[in-house]
């Protein structure tokens, strides 16, 4: 996993808690990197799982909630520090339609060895559709949080129904989503 995700998590912890909490999470996690993360470097996926788990323990919140909150925070972080293409869209639907062909392609161009999750948005109407997510990391909670973060960024509210989940043995996760303007 790219260092940007770890940097975002650190930023998330510093915003929602404090440095001591982050240090405690790092100390509690058995990390090969020692907790020092650089933006463009790739780290073991197990480190994010370990960090997230220990963070939720420290904050005493369920893992799902923690990941969802991080996902929402992460989209704002990506807009500021992620691929420039993210700033070209005006609504979540357009972003979702272009995420594979534009955003992930650019990530691959800069980091050829990076692993990116798969997103596919199939609209039913102009404001609703289904979103498919697939990843070997099975971080659908983060994905859900990202979607909410995106809607918030574009001034939309989103209703999400997680109709299929990889954690239930499915091949991919599917949400029925409906967007509306604030």
């Amino acid at each position: 996993m790219l260092g940007i995700v770890f940097n975002a998590l650190e930023e998330f912890v510093l915003e929602t808690a404090d440095m001591e909490t982050w240090n405690a999470v790092i100390d509690a996690s058995d990390l090969q990197s020692g907790g020092a993360y650089t933006f463009g470097v790739t780290y073991e996926d197990s480190e994010i799982v370990s960090l997230a788990t220990n963070l939720c323990k420290q904050l005493d919140i369920p893992l799902e909630t923690g990941l969802d909150l991080f996902g929402q925070f992460f989209f704002g972080y990506l807009i500021k520090k992620g691929p420039i293409e993210l700033q070209e869209y005006n609504d979540t639907q357009t972003l979702l339609k272009n995420i594979e062909d534009v955003v992930h392609r650019d990530v691959k161009r800069l980091h050829p060895n990076a692993y990116t999750p798969f997103f596919e948005y199939l609209p039913d109407t102009q404001s609703s559709g289904s979103l498919t997510y697939a990843s070997k990391r099975r971080l659908c909670m983060v994905a859900g949080g990202l979607l909410q973060g995106a809607a918030k960024h574009y001034g939309q509210s989103v209703e999400m129904e997680h109709v299929q989940c990889m954690h239930d043995g499915a091949e991919n996760c599917i949400w029925q989503v409906k967007f509306s303007k604030h």
Binding site: G3, I26, A36, Y37, T38, G40, V41
Partner: protein, 483 residues
């Protein structure tokens, strides 16, 4: 600093080091990419230059601008391609090596050593592009002035042999990959192919000209054959006619001669009788006087003499025609004996001079060597006489007759040219046909030139005519010189 931030600071240092390392790696990648792009750009430019060069050479092989110009242009293009200072080319002409002027410089460059050229021109089996240092003492000074230090030889082969070599002179700083010379070699192959194609074309044109010449000769021979066949048929006919007329004309001439003598006797007798009758005065003389007054014997006998003379002329002409027909019919007789052609013509001129001298000025131009010709001097003389008389008769006013002999290639060529009125093509086409004449009735038989044609052919020669209306006519006779 609190312990918490100290730990964060330590992590930040590690992260920064990783970032610097990553930055370094990326910088290297970028640098490598730039170098790769630079290399690829240069490679592309080289390929473009090669393509432009090959295209230029290919174009010049497609244009028909002569071999020398093509080789000159190929040398110039190769010089530009190799960024050379100057160039020149050499080629073999009549077994000698000819060297062009220097291209790209007004200076003069001495010939390279003869052994250098001999070496290159001999390398037929492995004639490839070569590069040599210019270090011979005689070239060293000029090389320094021109700023050159190496020469690239581009040999061009045609049909397996090197016949042209381009010399491309390089400056000291100029360098290129060995593959560049391969492109020069490829371009050289194109020039070689062009040289071979051009040579093939020339050979083809030569063959065409030879075939055309043969075709013309065959056509001429065919025309002569047709003429000969015509002559042979008419010869037989003429022989028959001459034979049939000869006997009756013989006894008519003989009897007419006797009749003429008898008429002389009778005329003398009547003259005396009339004289006696005038001197007497009797019945007989009276009757005779009356008859003389009525018939006018003097006029009668004078008229008989005129009629006899006319008949005599007529019979003489019939005899001449028969003799001509016989001469025409004898064309198959074997030719024997030898005579000097110039002497023969001189003798003929003497015979016809009286007919020529009032109408034409004769210009003689005989070959110094009076060639011998096998055959009948009289018959050839007859032909010459016929043509001289024809020339004189064709002149409406004063004119010139030029008679010339020249020996060449085993033949003596007799040319009889006049400045008379000439004749149209339609007349020339029939001029050797028997009985064809442009003269008036009783002026020509139309046998003269056909007999001449037969005589010349019988002597193994040929006769032709050239004419232009208003300018004159020229008869050309070729007779084989005796061994």
């Amino acid at each position: 600093m609190s312990d918490a931030y100290k730990a964060a600071y330590e992590r930040e240092k590690i992260a920064r080091l990783a970032a610097e390392k990553l930055l370094d790696e990326k910088s290297r990648e970028v640098q490598s990419s730039i170098e790769m792009i630079h290399y690829q750009f240069n490679d592309l430019m080289s390929q473009k230059k090669e393509s432009d060069y090959l295209l230029a050479v290919s174009r010049l092989t497609q244009t028909d601008q002569g071999l020398k110009k093509s080789v000159h242009d190929y040398t110039t293009e190769s010089m530009k391609f190799l960024n050379a200072k100057c160039s020149r080319y050499s080629y073999i002409s009549d077994g000698k090596i000819v060297i062009s002027n220097l291209i790209g410089s007004d200076d003069q460059l001495p010939k390279l050593g003869l052994n250098v050229y001999q070496d290159i021109y001999k390398k037929d089996d492995r004639s490839t592009v070569m590069i040599s240092e210019l270090n011979s003492p005689e070239l060293l000074g000029v090389s320094m002035v021109l700023g050159i230090n190496r020469v690239v030889f581009l040999p061009i082969k045609s049909f397996g042999k090197v016949n042209t070599v381009c010399e491309i002179y390089l400056s000291e700083g100029v360098d290129f990959k060995p593959e560049v010379l391969d492109q020069c070699q490829v371009a050289g192959f194109q020039i070689s192919a062009m040289l071979e194609r051009s040579a093939d074309q020339k050979e083809l044109e030569k063959s065409y000209q030879e075939i055309k010449l043969s075709h013309d000769k065959i056509k001429q021979a065919q025309a002569q054959l047709v003429q000969s066949e015509k002559m042979a048929s008419l010869g037989q006919l003429a022989a028959g006619v001459a034979h049939e007329i000869n006997n009756p004309i013989g006894f008519v001439t003989s009897n007419f001669s006797t009749l003429k003598e008898y008429s002389h006797v009778l005329a003398e007798y009547f003259s005396h009788a009339v004289q006696l009758a005038e001197q007497s005065d009797n019945e007989i003389s009276s009757v005779m006087k009356k008859m003389d007054e009525k018939e006018n014997f003097k006029f009668l006998f004078s008229d008989i003499k005129n009629i006899m003379d006319d008949c005599d002329d007529g019979l003489l002409r019939v005899k001449e025609i028969v003799a001509n027909l016989k001469s025409f019919a004898r064309s198959d007789e074997e030719v024997t004996g030898e005579f000097k052609i110039n002497q023969c013509i001189e003798n003929t001129i003497k015979v016809v001079w009286n007919e020529l001298k009032y109408k034409a000025r004769l210009h003689k131009d005989f070959d110094e060597n009076d060639c011998s010709v096998k055959g009948h001097e009289g018959q050839i003389g007859q032909v010459i006489m016929n043509m001289l008389v024809n020339a004189a008769q064709a002149m409406e006013a004063d004119g010139d007759i030029y008679i010339q002999t020249r020996a060449q290639d085993g033949f003596v060529r007799i040319t009889i040219r006049d400045t008379a009125k000439g004749m149209p093509q339609s007349v020339m086409d029939k001029i050797f046909d028997p009985f064809y004449t442009t003269k008036g009735v009783n002026e020509g038989t139309g046998l003269g030139l056909s007999i001449s044609h037969g005589i010349i052919e019988k002597h193994g020669g040929n006769v032709s005519v050239e004419s232009e209306e208003g300018v004159g006519t020229c008869f050309i006779i070729n007779l084989p010189i005796a061994d």
